[in-house]
Amino acid sequence: MQTPIVVQDVHKSFGAVKALHNISFTVQEGELFGLIGPDGAGKSTLFRILTTLLLADKGQATVNGLDVVKDYKAIRKIAGYMPGRFSLYQDLTVEENLHFFATIFNTTVEANYDLIEEIYVQIAPFKKRPAGKLSGGMKQKLALCCALVHKPAVLFLDEPTTGVDPVSRKEFWDMLQRLKQKGIAILVSTPYMDEAMLCDRVALIQNGQLLNIDTPQHIIAQFSKPMWAVRAKHMYRLIQDLRAFPGTDSCYAFGEYLHLTLKDGTAGVDALQAYLDTKHHEAFTMFSIQAGIEDCFMELMNTENV
């Protein structure tokens, strides 16, 4: 069995804009590989190169041992691709879309029904409905069905959960976990960092460059600085004050808390306390926490930007 995805030293520019710079990574069989990065980082460009829609300026990439340039025809038979933008026929029904995509892959819905069954049963009640009239989550489930209907060896999912409600997002990731167990290698991109924990390995991409490739657990373990969660009654004033404090290393809002790191680590806490006392924050709480994957990414992106 060939390595599902191998990317070596891929470059791509659009005019003066470097969309991808020196990208290399591999995805193993049955691995769920996450590509995490903000909008415009180059995620979709990379997907388009791997799905043979775009030619790289430099570098090689193979999908299941097939070269994306030379063997593009063979790749198109074994790859399942879900573009970032909903790309099914909105005026065809759920059933018709699925049937159509099965047919152009020279197969039938029935032949690979076991693979899509679990997902399809969720949208089956709406099978007579035009795809354009489905909810966001349903659309993505249908798109996944269509990408799976020919039993691909490798699955490319470009931002499948963007614009989808949290419940559907969770369901979607549960499905990916089960697909992975069937041996399908999955490359998935997302702008949501919290989804990174659900991947086997993740690569952080920013401005066309990969910052770090590792398991989410390793990335968190590498985060060395002590971190505190902080909150007070007036959050906006608090974040202003904390960022103004010279000993602050980073301070970001995460939900109802601010995540704070200090330049001097634990040693800087006393100075901070003294500083905040002069600011008189009501209902002030501060406690030590374990950094999450998002903190790690914020950290990585910042060090890269400096």
Binding site: T52, L53, L54, K73, R76, L88, D91, L92, E96, N106
Partner: protein, 372 residues
């Protein structure tokens, strides 16, 4: 083949699910045929004429009567004041002014000649030319009759005159509609071939489905054929539908073989479909495709000989019509329907069309990429 069949099935499903499309297919041909065929009419009849008769002789009255009873002229004003006639010309109330000078009859008898003045409002050149020609021919006729009566009294002793008799072939009653309907049918199927096909392909780009399709093993030619064949079928259906309307409403003559028309249309449509495909390869949105197709179709149409005869165009424009597929089809459909031309008469045109179809589709397919 199986793939193409399923793509076709999908396309037809989408076309007929689109209510606007169904209306376009059924309503446009009827409206176009009925409105354009009646409106785009170059027959000039009932032109308003002012007669300024200073003579008031029996002969001048006979001339006026002859003009007004011809059906081409309608007496607008009979006056002795030339100023009134000028005013009518100014105000567009009169198209033609005929001035019969004093002593018209006397001069004609005595001096064997008499002048007449004809003033024509020539804002519309075609109309003025026709008015002039009609009036001229009626006056000549009148002149000849007068001379026979006056000089000879006897036809056998009359001075020799060359008499031209004519008969209208292929469109005996000079019915303009019979001439226009076939041309309008060509416009109709041209629109379907070039506009709808191109827009349909670009639509896949616009809504992003092309991205999904491109990552499938679907072949370039599968996709293209799947896109073009439905419009080929619809356009041929429209042609049949249009011919039927033409037959029922306008009693369109069908002198030649209908199958020949369909054979030519079948080849011609591939030229237009190829054009639509070509346009779709370098446009990103349906508006762009629409405007570019419109630009070419409008030029092709106006230079096709549909409304104005190709022979009246300047030399360079006539050369351009060789590259104008619409011009060929307008010519052929009129030849076959009105004249009854057979395959032997149109085979050259058919071959030209075939060559264009190959070239057009060749370029389009070469320019079509599954990658971006």
């Amino acid at each position: 083949m199986r793939t193409i069949r399923f793509i076709l099935q999908k396309e037809f499903l989408q076309i007929f699910r689109n209510k606007a499309m169904v209306r376009i297919i059924f309503i446009i041909p009827i409206v176009q045929l009925l409105v354009l065929s009646y409106a785009a009419n170059y027959e000039v009849k009932n032109m308003a004429i002012d007669v300024v008769d200073y003579d008031l002789s029996p002969w001048s009255q006979r001339l006026v009567h002859k003009l007004t009873s011809s059906g081409y002229f309608r007496l607008q004003r009979h006056t002795f004041n030339i100023k009134e006639a000028y005013e009518d010309l100014q105000r567009d109330k009169a198209d033609v002014v005929l001035v019969v000078p004093r002593h018209f009859e006397r001069d004609l008898v005595k001096e064997d000649k008499a002048p007449l003045q004809l003033l024509v409002n020539a804002i519309n050149g075609t109309k003025a030319g026709l008015a002039n020609a009609y009036a001229g021919s009626i006056i000549r006729d009148f002149n000849k009759n007068i001379r026979t009566e006056w000089l000879a009294m006897d036809e056998r002793n009359a001075p020799p005159v060359i008499e031209v008799t004519y008969s209208n072939w292929f469109n005996t009653r000079l019915d303009y509609k019979v001439y226009m309907v076939p041309g309008i049918l060509v416009v109709l199927i041209t629109m379907i071939g070039s506009f709808l096909s191109g827009m349909n392909i670009v639509k896949e780009k616009e809504i992003g489905t092309i991205e999904q399709l491109n990552v499938t093993p679907i072949r370039k030619y599968h996709f293209i054929l799947g896109k073009l064949i439905p419009f080929w079928i619809i356009a041929l259906f429209e042609l049949a539908f249009g011919l039927l309307v033409g037959k029922l409403v306008f009693s369109l003559p069908m002198a030649g073989s209908i199958w020949l028309i369909f054979l030519f249309a079948a080849v011609y449509l591939w030229v237009m479909l190829g054009m639509g495909l070509l346009i779709s390869t370098f446009t990103e949105t349906q508006q762009q495709a629409m405007f570019i197709a419109w630009f070419f179709v409008l030029i092709f149409m106006l230079m096709s000989g549909l409304f104005t005869p190709v022979e009246s165009m300047p030399g360079w424009a006539q050369v351009l019509t060789w590259f104008n597929p619409i011009a060929w089809f307008v010519k052929v459909i009129r030849m076959v329907l009105l004249k009854g031309s057979g395959l032997a008469n149109i085979q050259t045109y058919l071959l030209i069309m075939l060559a264009y179809a190959l070239v057009m589709n060749g370029i389009a397919i070469w320019n079509y990429r599954k990658t971006t």
